[in-house]
Subunit: 136 residues, 6 copies
C-alpha cells in the first residue's frame, strides 16, 4: 500500500535529478541498496533533494553526538510518532552501527518509561518547577 | 494549573509511604530538591512507589547505555509526546549530566529531522522493505 | 492566550444562535456556568451548534455506558492527545459525577500502563495475532 | 513485520526467566494462549518481567475500577496512540469480559467526540477556566 | 485486520437505517462505490448516521473553503494522526478533485516542514509572543 | 518557560551567522519583528540557518499552492501535533494573508471532523480499500 509509485532503478536512470540523488546515496552508504523511502520521494525531486541533503548534514556528517546515539534518538522519535517504516529502517541502521541486544533492551525500557511518565504528567497537569526554567 | 494538589514536605511527613519515597529520591539523587512530578504523584501512593521504582531500575541502575544517552532518548520521546514538563525536567537533568551546547544542537537536529521524515513516510504510505524485517 | 475572542454573556445575548446554545447548555446542566470552550466556539455558530448537539447526544443522553465511565474514556483520550484544557475540564466533570480518589488513581495507572505498552509494541513492530482478527 | 524475533514455546522453555513469565501468564489467565506481545518482549527478560508484573498489578489485581472499565480506558489510549496491535488485543479482551455491541458503540462515539473537541480546543488555544484548577 | 465485521451490500439491505445511509452516500457521490469505513461504521447505526451527516455538512456542502483545500487539510490532519486508511482515502479523494503532482509535492513539503518546526518549538519550550495573542 | 535563552537583538548583532539570518528574515518579511522561535533557534546557528532556508524554500518561494493554503495546512499539522506556539504564530500569519472568519470556521470544522474520523477508523482497524492503492 502506498499513495505514490515507488521508482525502479530504470525509471530513476531516465530522470537526472533523481538519478543524481540515488547515486549519492549509494556513494555515501557504500551500498547498492536504495530503500523504499527514497523511491517514494522520487516523485517530487525537490523534496527528494532537500530531504537527502538535510539527512546527510544531520545524520552522516561528523558532529557532537556519535552515529549510534543519533540512531537511538531517531528510533525514539519514530516510535512516539508511530511510524512503522521509520522504526524498521532505523532499527536496522542502528544494528548495522553496532547496537547490541543489551543496548536495544535499554532503549526500549527508556522509551516505555518516558511514555508512561509523559502521560502521568500530562494527566496531572503538573506545573513546571521554576528550577527548570532557563529564561529566568 | 494542575488536576491534583502538589504535596508539601509537611504533608509528606505525615504519610509514611509518601515520606519513604521522598526520602529515597533524596538519597539516590544526593539532593534535597523534590520536583513537582513526585509531589503530584503523592496523591496515589501505589503509583508513586511503582513509578519511582521503575525509574530507578531504568534510569539510575547501571546498564548498557550511559546515563546521558538515556536522558537524550527520554527528551526525544517527551518532545514527540508534547510533554512540556518532561522536556524541561529532563533537559535540566541532561545538562546536569554533562550535555554540551553542541550535543544539544545535535539532539534538536535529529529530533527535527526524524519528525519530518516520519511524516513524509506516513503521508506516502511507504511499505517496509523486506530487508528490514527480522521475522522473515 | 487564545487565537479567538472568548464571548461574554453580553455579547452572546446580542447573537440569537449563540444565545440559544448558551441557554440550552445552562438548562441541560442546571448551572449558570458556561466554560471557556463554548465561549471560544461562539465565534463560529455552525460549529458551536453542531458540537453541542453531538456532545449532548454522546455524553448526556442515556446510553449503554454510565456517565462516569464515559468521562474516564474522555479523559484518557484527552491525555493521549495532550489537550490540557480538556483534561482539566473533564477531570472536574468526572469528580462532579462521583469519581473517587481511588478510582482516579486507577485511571492514571491504566493510562500510564497503556502508554508504556503502546510504545513497546510499536517499537517491536509486533504483528497482530490472528486470534484478535474479526474479519476472519 | 517485526524488529525482533517472536519466541516460540520451545525457545522459551530453554530460558528459565522467560519460561517463568510465560507460565505465570498462563496461570493467571487460565489459558494456554500466549499472544505475540509477550513473545516479542521475551528478547529482553528484564523488560518482560517488569512489564508483566506491572500489568498484573494494574489490570488484574482487584481495584477501584472494574476490569471492563479498565479495558475501555486501555482501548481509548491505544486508539489515540495509534497502536493497532494494542487496539486489537484489548478489544478482544474487552469482549471476553462482556463488552456488548451497544457499549462498544458508545465507546467509539466518546473516543470520536473527544478527539474532535480536543483538536478544536487546541486550535483555539482556549485558556483553562479557573474553576477547573485544583491548586487554587 | 479489523475489530468489526465490514457489512456487505446484502447485509445493509436488510437493515433500513444502514441502507438509508448507504443510499445517500451513493446519491451524494454519484457512484456505487461504498468504501470500507462506512461498512465498518454500519455496526453502530447511530454513529454511522451522525458521522455521515456531519461529513456532508463539513466536506460536501458549499462553504468558505473550496473542496480541494478541505481535502488537503484533511490529509494533513490524517498524516499527523498516523491514520493510514484516512491518508489513502483522502489522497484518492483529493486526486479525484484535481490535485496535481506539483500541488501534492507542495502538500508533502509543508507537512514535513511543519512537523520539523513543531518539534523544534516544543523541544525549546518557546513562549508565545504577545503579538500572537488575540485575547489581549 | 523555555529550555534555552531567547536571543536579544543586541546579542544577535555580536554573532555574525545569527545576525545574517535575522537580517534576511527582516528583508523577506518586510518587517522588523523577529518572533521568539528564531530567537530560541539562535542558540544553534547551524539549525537556525538550515531551518530558515528550508522555510523560505517551502513557504515563501512561489509554488503550486498559494501562500494562504499552505498556512492552513501548517495550522492543521500544528493542531494535530499539539504545538501551541506554532498554532498561534501560523494563525496570525494566515490572518495576515487574508484568512476570513468564515474560512477559519471551515478550517476548524475540517480539523475537528478529520480528528474524529481518524480515531474511528483507527479504533475499528479498517483495512484500506484496494481502490485507494497506487502501487497496484
Amino acid at each position: 500500500m502506498a499513495t505514490v509509485r515507488l521508482w525502479t532503478d530504470a525509471e530513476a536512470e531516465a530522470a537526472p535529478r533523481v538519478q543524481a540523488v540515488f547515486a549519492d546515496i549509494r556513494a555515501v552508504r557504500g551500498s547498492d541498496f536504495i530503500n523504499n523511502f527514497w523511491r517514494g520521494l522520487a516523485n517530487d525531486p525537490a523534496t527528494l533533494e532537500r530531504t537527502w541533503n538535510s539527512l546527510k548534514e544531520v545524520m552522516v556528517a561528523p558532529s557532537a553526538l556519535d552515529p549510534l546515539t543519533k540512531e537511538l534518538i531517531y528510533i525514539a522519535v519514530s516510535v512516539a510518532s508511530g511510524c512503522s517504516y521509520c522504526i524498521h529502517s532505523h532499527t536496522a541502521a542502528a544494528r548495522a552501527k553496532g547496537l547490541t541486544d543489551a543496548q536495544y533492551g535499554d532503549l526500549l525500557a527508556v522509551i516505555g518509561m518516558a511514555s508512561e511518565t509523559n502521560r502521568l504528567v500530562t494527566a496531572l497537569g503538573i506545573p513546571v518547577d521554576p528550577e527548570f526554567d532557563v529564561t529566568g
